[in-house]
């Protein structure tokens, strides 16, 4: 049995085309005889039309697209900065852990001895300098220049080879 109350509850879905076929038929029959429900349907349709008309004029302000792009870019940079900071913290923690582990391990003890050995050698070379004059400094400088020359030549050669491969 269809009455006004049950029709009113279904009227919204009926208006939106979301009521079942059976409900639609029952509502249509009821509407033919009930003025109150016809009026309610007309009001709901009127409100729907008024809402659509009002919101057609709601438009975003000029320049919103640009400010959204800026905000998205800033957010992206912020995310990257946070990720980079997290990476630095993790790397620093790992490095500290590595150094601590190395110093406490047998390898660390050997490294300490090796370090002391290096310091002794450097100290010995420095103390040798007055006896040998400046010839040893010139020898080291010439060796460095030769080494740098060979390195630059090697890098240039490698670059030329890779460029040739890129063209091919």
């Amino acid at each position: 049995m269809v009455n006004c109350k049950s029709v009113e509850e279904q009227l919204s879905a009926f208006m939106d085309g979301e009521a079942s076929r059976e409900d639609c038929e029952a509502i249509e029959q009821h509407l033919q005889t009930c003025g109150d429900c016809r009026r309610l349907l007309s009001h709901l349709q009127g409100i729907s039309g008024a809402l659509q008309a009002a919101y057609n004029d709601v438009t975003p302000p000029v320049g919103l697209e640009l400010s959204i792009l800026r905000a998205v870019e800033m957010s992206r940079e912020g995310v990257q900065a946070r990720r980079l900071s997290a990476l630095y913290v993790v790397c620093a923690a790992l490095a500290l852990l590595g150094v601590a582990t190395a110093l406490l391990s047998p390898l660390g003890v050997a490294m300490k001895a090796f370090f002391r050995f290096d310091v002794s050698i450097i100290g010995g070379i420095i103390h040798l300098s007055p006896d040998m004059g400046s010839s040893w400094i010139a020898g080291i400088a010439i060796s460095c220049i030769l080494l740098a020359g060979f390195s630059i030549f090697g890098v240039a050669l490698a670059l030329r080879t890779s460029r040739t491969e890129g063209i091919l």
Binding site: A13, L51, P61, I68, S75
Partner: protein, 180 residues
Amino acid sequence: MNGLNQQDLNLIRWARQGRRDSFSALIRNYQTFVFRTAYGVVQNRADAEDVTQETFIKVHQSLKALRDERTFPTWLARITVRTAIDWLHQKDKQKDLLASADPMTVDSGHSSDLRMDLEQALAALSPEQRTVLVLREIHGFDYEQLAQILGVPVGTVKSRLHNARIELRQLLSSERGSGW
């Protein structure tokens, strides 16, 4: 809003792959949709602007998680609605919404009066009721899509929409007389 053409699908696909020009085009194509939805919930232009910005930031951050490009409109609507409702909760705007509601447009005459009444009536509804009204009346989502957007059963969508319309009618009747 219910149909996506091939151009939109391509834009979404390319934006997912990280192409900035495609994301800019998505903003251009969907900013009105997001702004209107946000305005429908928060009822204030300045807040709607902020919600629109925040929505697109979230879209940019999570676009890669979108599985099916064809669900983009409902996905975008869901993000917009959640952002707008969170915005209201955070700012506690609901309390003085009636005071801060902006006029939709500057107009004169009978239609302007109707709009003023409509705005006041909308502001008196709950954010959930405004949301379902805007999504249905302005964007034309069907009940199934509304259920997906709002995360509630279809039956709840049906009753919420019906209650919102009836309440809006009562509010307009008290403001404009029995003609509504």
